[in-house]
Amino acid sequence: MANSPVTTSEDSSGLMAKAIKEGLFAGLLAFGMFLLYVGIETYQNIDNKLVWRTRWGLLAIFVIASALGRFLVVGFIKPHIDRRKLAKAKAGIPEISSEKGFFHTHFLKIALVALVLYPPLAIMLSGVQGSLKFVDNFGIQILIYVMLAWGLNVVVGLAGLLDLGYVAFYAVGAYSYALLSDQFGLSFWILLPLAGILAAFWGIILGFPVLRLRGDYLAIVTLAFGEIIRLVLMNWTEVTGGTAGISGIAKASVFGIYSFDVGAPNNFAKAFGLPMSSAYYKIFLFYVILGLCMLTAYVTMKLRRMPIGRAWEALREDEIACRSLGIDTVKTKLTAFAIGAMFGGFAGSFFAARQGFVSPESFVFLESAVILAVVVLGGMGSLTGIAVAAIVMVGGTELLREMEFLKHVFGDDFTPELYRMLIFGLAMVVVMLFKPRGFVGSREPTAFLKERKAVSGSFTKEGHG
């Protein structure tokens, strides 16, 4: 991995020598890095004493894989990519074609139709009970992240304010629903907007003192606030139930007409003479979260075309210029914070209604990091890109839970779930390295005189905060 200059000569023997050298170096490096952690396993024996044993075989695999990988990258893959780039440049073909196909221009409509048809399709393919997995684990799980990421997108993607504690508002929404439905017996449909408003209110309270801070100072304070809220939820046992959380949270109903409680006279399945199954509730929830996502997308798209949304984006580009144009940047930041928080609150109360259980465990920093990663990997500001990122990252890791067949390959001790976050982290790194501006790097202008031209990502800034 020495920092050698790019060789332009096609001298393959020189290239091979270089590849072998770098491969050996990578192997040596891997040996040093993995010797202790992979080569040696620590475990507690029967006396609860920490002992160790060696795993030379596994270490050898790691070292050889690193060396071989580096050798292949330097010797074959990189020259191949360079050659392709060169050929492309010679042919003069622009990297991005401006023509859009039918699928591209109607992407949103097609996606929406596909999502609406998703639950019936799942039932058709795997029966009512079998559809549960698809609708709940993939459908609802991904859509919650889509909604959260779209909400955070207002703060990070549009206004350019780096918020590392977004999960706090998710928590506020979830606990608002859990506590208020428990204490006052209010229904989901009343508490959903209320949870959003409460979260927005918290957004303003937390945002007001800190929005003067710039850049990474803002990031660390938002992270701190996120942790404070989690720690309070964890320790204020009388109200929040502490680490045990709150369970038995009321389910959402079909606007009070049909209930999903098994004993209720207006139970959904009974009313339609269907066999009892928890799948109906999940399918209902799927449409609820789909609706919430649509609302988020609609409001975001609408706001972008309004003065407030333009002010957010202008703020991301240049705060001083904004002030010189008479824009109250503090208020503008606060609205972005509050609106982002509100969507987080909606998602939170939905989460509580879906799980029937909330605990501080669900609102750790890692969640904020995952949501932020989805926003950045998707391409800041782009709703489509973010949705794609959520599907790839969240859906991909959910998929790992399903990979039972890997047990047959690697043996019964192999639990694919253990590797879920490891792979998630690696994917974050790899996607960023190849697409630093995310899947969709360009931005759609909010107004145009003659034609709507996407603005290349190389012009947009990422904000200072």
Binding site: V299, K302, L303, M306, P307, I308, R310, A311, E313, A314, R316, E317, D318, I320, A321, C322, R323, S324, L325, G326, I327, D328, T329, T335, R443, P445, T446, A447, F448, L449, K450, E451, R452, K453, V455, S456, F459, T460, K461
Partner: protein, 289 residues
Amino acid sequence: MTSGTQTMNKNTILNVEHLSMRFGGLMAINDLSFQVKRGDITALIGPNGAGKTTVFNCITGFYKPTMGMITLTQRGGGQYLLERLSDFEITKQAKVARTFQNIRLFGGLTVLENLLVAQHNKLMKASGYTVMGLLGLGSYKREAEAAIETARQWLERADLIDRADDPAGDLSYGAQRRLEIARAMCTGPELLCLDEPAAGLNPKESLALNVLLNGIRDETGTSILLIEHDMSVVMEISDHVVVLEYGQKISDGTPDHVKNDPKVIAAYLGVEDDEVEEVIHEELDGSAH
């Protein structure tokens, strides 16, 4: 060209009195007083480090002056003490717009969007602070179209109409300068403050700038205060010149008056007056024609 009057009257849009600004131990501006007449193009000149940009930052609220009073009188008679307002309020209420020495555009927004952002306050009101606009109520739609029309007019004036839908960051340097001025004008200012608008422009672009500025003065009645290094621009378009050196005013008057002022010549060349008087005469004459 009129001669600079030192008395405060209805024709004075900006009155700077005893302005001082101190950074730590450094006195960047020391007891500076001058006036800007309504409808004039007033130039603020001086050698590097004379404190010109600091004066601008005090007027537009980016710095809080250590001492002094800056009074802005609007056409309607409304008066504002600028040193008491924060930066965005100065633009919003007192109607003073500015540009920056190192251009500050919204590079990732299109040229048109840049001009729409400048009409933020007007549009916010029309959209009922977003609420009405979100619900599709009120006059927002009409106002939004009017805003695009205003933007179109300024784009035509600034000769940027063909680039309206391109990202602002993609424009050439001269075009960026003109866009920044057009953007400032979209806030509907009574006083426009330009920080070195001609810096880095080639002669052709410089000429286009002069046309734009003269147009602004003559057709919109907006008063202009500008900082400039390029003497040809200063002498050609300004009605009134204020010369700063080391944070103090050393001369104040018509371009003719100023360019013959020995103090100014000394300040610019840093040598004995009579030695270079001829040279500077030739230079100024040459560039004025």
